[in-house]
Symmetry: C2
Subunit: 185 residues, 2 copies
């Protein structure tokens, strides 16, 4: 692979991340090419389809989340780790707006590579939930899909109503408090 090709690939990836975050996943490829300072043909040389480019971007975002889910490590209280992860999760999703759509559609049309990473994320989150559950910090019976759905839902709502981060944090407080208490039925 030629030196300029390597450089261009990196610039395209970064440009795509910026453009998709700012304008959503439906932003035209031409915009990505312009932002990267290359021609459209060059974008398609590196990523044969728009979806491939999209996947490349989303994949790194997902991997960061997987790392965050696996990070809690040594000695930290299972409940604290879980609720801290929810905050990390939400802030990462809020920064990378394109992740919202990707996670919203989890299970529908995610492609090969992404599917594996989504599974990694789900199993990581599941482990955290089970530990927190065992520690009595989370109501019993909560599923991974519910937690991810709640966090993504809040982020999506904040994103689309152009509310501030403070509003998102208050919504997360409410969700977290709801997760803590046992169902009062």
């Amino acid at each position: 692979m030629r030196a300029d090709a390597v450089k261009n690939r990196a610039r395209i990836l970064q440009a795509a991340e910026e453009v998709f975050s700012a304008n959503g996943l439906s932003a035209p490829i031409d915009l990505v090419a312009e932002q990267a300072g290359v021609g459209v043909g060059t974008v398609y040389r590196h990523f044969p389809t728009k979806e491939a480019l999209f996947e490349a971007i989303v994949l790194t975002g997902l991997q960061e989340l997987v790392a965050a889910a696996a990070a809690p490590a040594d000695g930290e209280d299972a409940g604290d780790a879980f609720y801290a992860f929810i905050r990390t999760f939400a802030s990462k999703v809020s920064i990378k707006h394109d992740l919202i759509d990707a996670l919203s559609a989890a299970g529908i049309d995610i492609k090969s590579q992404c599917a594996m990473t989504v599974e990694d994320l789900e199993s990581g989150v599941d482990l955290m939930i089970r530990r927190a559950e065992a520690a009595g910090a989370v109501r019993p019976g909560v599923t991974t899909q519910e937690v991810i759905g709640l966090v993504v839902g809040v982020c999506k709502a904040v994103d689309m109503s152009s509310a501030e981060d403070a509003s998102r944090d208050r919504m997360l407080d409410i969700v977290c408090d709801g997760l803590r208490v046992p169902s009062p039925t």
Copy 2:
């Protein structure tokens, strides 16, 4: 207005509701025309733009929600009324998928007529929250945007991950429990 014109207008409205609910707001007008059994020109004769058609549909949905918010009426406990409304709200939003997008975008690009109805909805919800708050059934300081955001967020998450209604109900349980307790800070 000619008799067949009246009939066609009604058929277009119903077809549009079905098509937009099934395929999202970005469904082509041609599909609406086909479903209604008329030509595209006829659709545009009745609704000069796609957005006008969209507004006509969404408006009725919003009005139903406003009615539901105003319904609690006599003697019912303020907290019960509020939490019952959340359920009603969510089920209406889930049935009319197009409402999700409309409510998600509340405050961004809603047009004249809709804006008024959205305001009606917000003030209705706000009243319920204040009453429930006074009755000690809701944590103090919750805003209307937060409540609407949480409910819409849950519906959106359920909608996009093609989860079942049971999942939505469990998420709503969590949210409602979170709204009930005072913030434990």
